[in-house]
């Protein structure tokens, strides 16, 4: 480097003073947070912010695809769709007529299903008859449906960002409203879980099957991820894609959905965060009025299955009409593991931006990949999961080249202590990242619920920074030695066919 370069850097470094807004700012925000739990066990976290007359709501239900038994894979996600179908008063033209129509439809479907799976094979005449009956019953029930009324009410009242998502660990429902409509959310969201009607059930299953075809079956990377998980985990339900298996989607009945709802959608299994233009006292008053109606029920039993230690490398290769992809996953502890902050530090070190080690090695210098990164927490975070590395080899380069280069970087973690400078960079980025995360009402609401449920306390959103600051170079070496070993890894690749 030439002299002028040094001088220029020295000048710029002088422009960087010491961090100013730090612990005080975070402490002030935490003081404004109110947490309360209703008698039925439902917990609320409220952060008032009055800059603009808007409020973001986030409902976190501690049920994900991991809670599905064999035969009902995909149900947690189907339920997420059903939660938009309304109640006994929303989404119906006349519930008194609709209720028996839905019951008749279920009966018809059960008969059809029984015929479809009859051994040695179904009777085709009987099948045609039952299908006809099912279609007629479905038409009769659909005629009583006021389509998508739940969404319509939210959108018409100015709701934005209305959506929901299901992953392995959780199901989350969220949107934002102008603050004068706060009570609308309390009314709608509580009745959604108090009084749901799973109407249009069989049509919505078709929608979900289309979602599976779109996200998994018609996408090379979708296929790879599904295969990869099924190989990486042998016992823990992290092995199943959230969207479920096609045979289960076909087989799941409305009774299955009702049973699932009763078991998992209980107040003690839900946490709600409200961030925006509302006073905590008002939020509490409305919570008691509306959500106090939900009956207390026992918290579901924790998941029994624990993934056993991996005793040998696993590998899956797909030959697709696609360019190459490489996934490398290592088993590691879950969110409550004391090493969780160490995983986060390694993730930043390896993957965050243009100074990250994988970018510098694979993308910038070797030019063997157009993207390369590694992050903690795949496919979920609550239970022991994977530290997942991935690379997209650049044109003319192979998965094996990328695998070797990733291994080299992993070995560096084990053999060279991370410099203080690099570690300080990680810590500075963690702090800046947290400050930025605070600026979005909806993002913050989501993070508060995650910390509360998965980490056990919403304060963890802030204390995670202290934990990251405590990570040492020796911690990184120790965890790398322990986790990044060949017997503990699964490799997934796409190789092109032409």
């Amino acid at each position: 480097m030439n002299k002028r370069g040094w001088l220029a850097i020295a000048i710029l470094i002088l422009l960087i003073p010491l961090a100013a807004w730090s612990q005080d700012g975070f402490r002030d925000i935490q003081k404004q947070v109110t947490e309360f739990t209703l008698k039925n066990g439902l917990t609320f976290i409220v952060l008032p912010r009055h800059e603009a007359p808007v409020i973001s709501f986030h409902t976190y239900v501690d049920v994900g695809s991991v809670n599905e038994d064999r035969g009902i894979t995909g149900l947690a996600h189907i339920f997420e769709h059903l939660a938009f179908k309304g109640t006994t008063t929303i989404g119906t033209k006349d519930y008194r007529k609709e209720k028996p129509a839905l019951e008749a439809l279920d009966k018809s479907w059960n008969a059809l299903r029984a015929e479809e799976i009859r051994l040695p094979h179904p009777d085709s005449a009987r099948l045609a008859e039952l299908t006809k009956d099912f279609n007629a019953k479905q038409d009769a029930a659909s005629a009583l449906v006021e389509n998508n009324q739940f969404g319509q009410i939210v959108e018409q009242n100015g709701g934005v960002g209305l959506n929901a998502m299901t992953n392995s660990d959780a199901t989350q429902y969220f949107y934002s409203l102008p603050s004068n409509k706060a009570e609308l959310w309390f009314s709608l969201e509580s009745s959604r879980f108090l009084d749901p009607v799973f109407r249009d059930f069989y049509k919505e299953k078709n929608v979900v099957m289309e979602e599976r075809r779109m996200g998994v079956e018609s996408s090379p990377t979708g296929k790879l991820l599904e295969e990869f998980l099924s190989v990486a985990f042998k016992a823990h339900p992290y092995r199943d894609e959230v969207v479920g298996h096609m045979s289960d989607l076909k087989a799941i009945s409305r009774d299955d959905a009702i049973a699932f709802f009763k078991k998992y959608y209980v107040p003690s299994n839900m946490v709600i965060a409200i961030v925006g233009d509302i006073e905590p006292a008002e939020a509490k008053r409305l919570s008691e009025i509306y959500f106090g109606r939900l009956p207390a029920r026992p918290k579901p039993e924790p998941l029994r299955t624990v993934e056993p230690p991996q005793i040998g490398e696993r590998r899956v290769t797909l030959h697709e009409q696609s360019q190459r992809w490489l996934l490398v996953g290592y088993k590691k502890g879950g969110a409550l593991s004391p090493d969780d902050p160490v995983y986060d530090v390694i993730s930043d070190l390896m993957s965050s931006g243009r100074t990250s080690r994988l970018y510098k090695s694979l993308v910038r210098d070797k030019k063997i990949a157009i993207q390369a990164a590694g992050f903690s927490g795949f496919p979920g975070q609550k239970y022991p999961n994977l530290f997942l590395f991935y690379a997209l080899p650049s044109q003319g380069h192979t998965n094996e080249e990328c695998l070797t280069a990733i291994n080299d970087e992993i070995n560096r973690l084990k053999t060279e202590p991370v410099s203080a400078e690099e570690l300080n960079g990680v810590k500075a980025r963690a702090r800046a990242g947290l400050i930025r995360a605070l600026s979005s009402n909806s993002g913050l609401a989501m993070q508060l619920t995650y910390a509360a449920v998965v980490m056990g306390d919403w304060h963890q959103l802030f204390t995670s920074l202290d934990k990251i600051n405590a990570v040492t170079a020796a911690d990184i070496q120790r965890v790398a030695d322990e986790v990044f070993v060949d017997n503990n890894r699964t490799i997934g690749t796409i190789e092109p066919v032409n």
Binding site: R4, A20, V54, N147, Q152, L162, P178, K203, S394
Partner: protein, 711 residues
């Protein structure tokens, strides 16, 4: 400095719900229908400070002390639409390497380290209609961030290794572009809508190879000037201090006049087209239907957005209800009335469904579309769309970042600053009639572009049921061949090969002075194949005349040795210089000309590889004409020494591409062998076929007949 500071702190009343003013504090749960809402409280929309530096740069500032961060957003008058043809991707590469390739003060790596160490980010980009930059720093790093932002915008050096990196990424992106069906559908649909305008271009390998470091330097120099730049800065700062910082950091940037190139405007399709792309490894079909969209300031914009919201833009929209909820045909189904700031967007509706219900879903979308045009939207739908817009209006102003970014963008694209409020008023005033009128005026049921991507054999009904289908081949054009440099050995071998080729042409080949030939030609045109009669006269080495007779009339194109002219039914005119140059280049590469100049210093001739043409072993020879730079690759049959193929690089749909000419049916014409059949290919597609009916040599052509006639 001319400083305009708005002292008005406008108070905008955002009260859309004139429901009961007093809040009813109930103590029992209410059904949503019985709820009474208080009016939304007034919010103060802050007025940013605006000023212009003497160099013409316009700056907006707004304080926001909620969090200790400072953000900046920069807009620059540039864009990929100004790229030259043959260099698609130059703009985006310029935007990328500005940041990665370092500046006169700092290498890209230094910039990465300085920003990474404090969790800050400064990035630049060039998009379709503008370029820009973004800065996001904690407040204590604002000087670092602004200094680097200015340095990157003004003094990038485009280091070669970072261009190489950008090229690796560009090539890899091209190679990956057909991997996912969703990507194919959206990309090819936009290309169909925008056609051959700069908005519909796609980068190919040939473009990547064509782009040089000088191109990046020039593209940056052409557009990045303070008088073409606007910047917004907001966050935890004091306005007077920031104003001074901006002057100190950006004040020395020198103003320069810039002329923005004129860009071809996209036009509405002239007819309905049904297009298909084959993708056999999927079990869903992707459907996209639509036509050219509009501008954000079209008179009908507010009405059309209401129609779109009701039709396919929301959970409670018609398409979502009918296709997804009622029929369970799709997870994804939507419509989107596309609008951009200063060029038309893409109006698109569609979604994806299992292959076996492709036609069912496509027909369902088309029926809903035709219905909404014919019968309009219902009162209930209008109320839904208006309420959704008006009730969520507050979210357009709920952060200071949105307020200032909106003002910056409006001024940048020449919109009035009250644009959003005008739109709001138009929405308030919209009626079923105004919406229906707008829909009838702008949504066209007859000029739809329909695109289906998927596995044809699994479709419920063939797509051709709807009409003739245009199948689009999305095979990625191969990168142009890299041409090696000559060596003494390859030159000797090349010349030797051409001498043998000359001998093989026949005993009279060396004494050819002129040639006349005629025949028929078929050429691929944009509207289908065109057939014509052709006649050539060549007086070697530098005069040629071609007469083409088509159903539209007769066209003569002539090179007289110095310049060129053409004769059309309506008269005689000069050929454009670029065309004259192209025609001379091809004349200088005519086998007769080359073979009589094997030892001329004007030509570099060298062997470069063995190959095969139609399974026959051939020798490849490069022929380069120094004065014009014309270059061809010849492939000579190892047995007969006849020329079987010539490859030249020409401008094609995908930038500079290799154009192949295959020669066939050699016949002896008075002791000289002549190829009676010539076929031209580009990108595997035949462009032209020529069949001679007769040829003659040395008939005694004279200079006179190549002279430009008097009018």
């Amino acid at each position: 400095m001319r400083t305009f500071r708005a002292t008005l702190s406008a108070v905008l009343v955002l009260a859309f719900v004139a429901a009961a003013a007093a809040q009813t504090r109930g103590t029992t749960p209410q059904d949503y229908r019985k709820l009474k809402y208080p009016a939304l409280r007034e919010i103060q929309i802050p007025e940013p400070t605006r000023f212009e530096l003497p160099n013409g740069m316009i700056v907006y500032l707004l304080e926001d002390h909620t969090f200790p961060v400072v953000n900046a957003s920069v807009l620059v008058r540039t864009g990929s639409r100004y790229e030259p043809t043959g260099k698609v991707g130059l703009a985006s590469m310029t935007g990328q390497v500005m940041r990665t390739g370092g500046t006169t003060m700092h290498s890209g790596e230094e910039i990465d380290s300085l920003l990474g160490a404090v969790g800050a980010s400064v990035e630049t980009y060039i998009g379709t209609a503008n370029g820009g930059g973004r800065m996001n720093v904690l407040k204590e790093n604002v000087d670092l961030g602004l200094t680097l932002l200015s340095d990157i915008l003004r003094n990038p050096v485009f280091r070669e290794d970072k261009i190489d990196l950008a090229k690796v990424q560009a090539r890899s992106a091209i190679s990956r572009r057909n991997d996912e069906i969703s990507g194919i559908s959206s990309r090819e649909f936009a290309r169909l809508i925008y056609g051959p305008t700069p908005y519909g271009r796609q980068q190919e390998y040939a473009d990547v190879e064509n782009i040089t470091r000088q191109d990046l330097i020039d593209f940056h120099h052409e557009f990045f000037v303070p008088n073409g730049t606007m910047m917004a800065i907001w966050g935890d700062m004091s306005i007077p201090e920031m104003e001074k910082k901006v002057q100190d950091i950006f004040g020395s940037w020198e103003k320069r006049d810039v002329r923005l190139p004129v860009v071809a405007k996209p036009r509405m399709a002239r007819q309905q087209t049904i297009n298909f792309i084959k993708k056999d490894d999927v079990n869903q079909a992707y459907i996209a239907v639509g036509h050219l969209g509009g501008l954000l300031n079209d008179a009908e914009s507010a009405d059309l957005n209401l129609a779109d919201q009701a039709f396919g833009g929301a959970f409670a929209s018609r398409l979502f209800k009918k296709v997804r909820s009622e029929q369970g045909l799709a997870y994804a189904v939507y419509s989107s009335w596309g609008e951009s700031w200063d060029y038309p967007g893409v109006f698109r509706m569609g979604g994806s469904t299992k292959s076996g219900s492709m036609m069912k879903m496509l027909k369902s979308i088309l029926a809903e579309y035709r219905d909404v045009i014919a019968n309009g939207i219902t009162d209930q739908e209008l109320k839904f769309a208006k309420d959704s817009y008006l009730n969520s209006f507050v979210f357009q102003y709920d952060t200071k970042g949105k307020v200032i970014s909106q003002l910056l963008t409006l001024e940048f694209f020449g919109y009035p600053k009250d644009y959003i409020r005008t739109q709001q008023q138009k929405v308030q005033q919209a009626t079923r009639k105004s919406v229906d009128d707008a829909v009838k005026a702008r949504w066209n049921p007859d000029l739809l572009t329909i695109l289906v991507v998927g596995k044809e054999s699994d479709f419920d009904t063939p797509l051709s049921e709807l009409g003739p289908v245009n199948t689009i081949d999305i095979t990625i054009p191969a990168p142009p061949e890299k041409i090696p440099e000559p060596t003494a050995a390859t030159v000797a071998r090349g010349k030797d090969l051409l001498r043998k080729a000359l001998a093989a042409l026949g005993p009279n080949a060396p004494s050819v002075k002129d040639m006349s030939a005629e025949g028929s030609m078929k050429a691929a045109g944009p509207m289908g194949e065109v057939a014509m009669k052709v006649k050539f006269d060549v007086l070697y080495p530098d005069k040629v005349s071609r007469v083409m007779t088509t159903p539209m009339g007769e066209l003569t194109m002539t090179l007289d040795g110095k310049s060129g002219w053409m004769k059309l039914p309506m008269g005689v005119r000069d050929l454009p210089p670029s065309q004259v140059e192209e025609m001379y280049k091809s004349l200088f590469l005519d086998p007769m000309v080359v073979l009589s100049h094997i030892d001329s210093p004007d030509y570099t001739i060298y062997y470069y590889k063995d190959d095969k043409v139609n399974d026959r072993p051939v020798s490849g020879v490069i022929v380069k004409h120094g004065p014009t730079g014309a270059l061809t690759r010849w492939f000579l049959d190892n047995e007969t020494m006849m020329l079987l193929k010539a490859v030249t690089r020409a401008q094609g749909e995908a930038g500079l591409q290799d154009q192949e000419e295959l020669y066939d049916d050699y016949r002896d014409v008075g002791g000289v062998k002549v190829a009676f059949k010539t076929r031209q290919f580009m990108d595997g597609k035949q462009q032209m076929e020529l069949e001679l009916s007769g040829a003659k040599f040395n008939t005694g052509l004279t200079d006179a007949q190549f002279k430009k006639p008097a009018q």
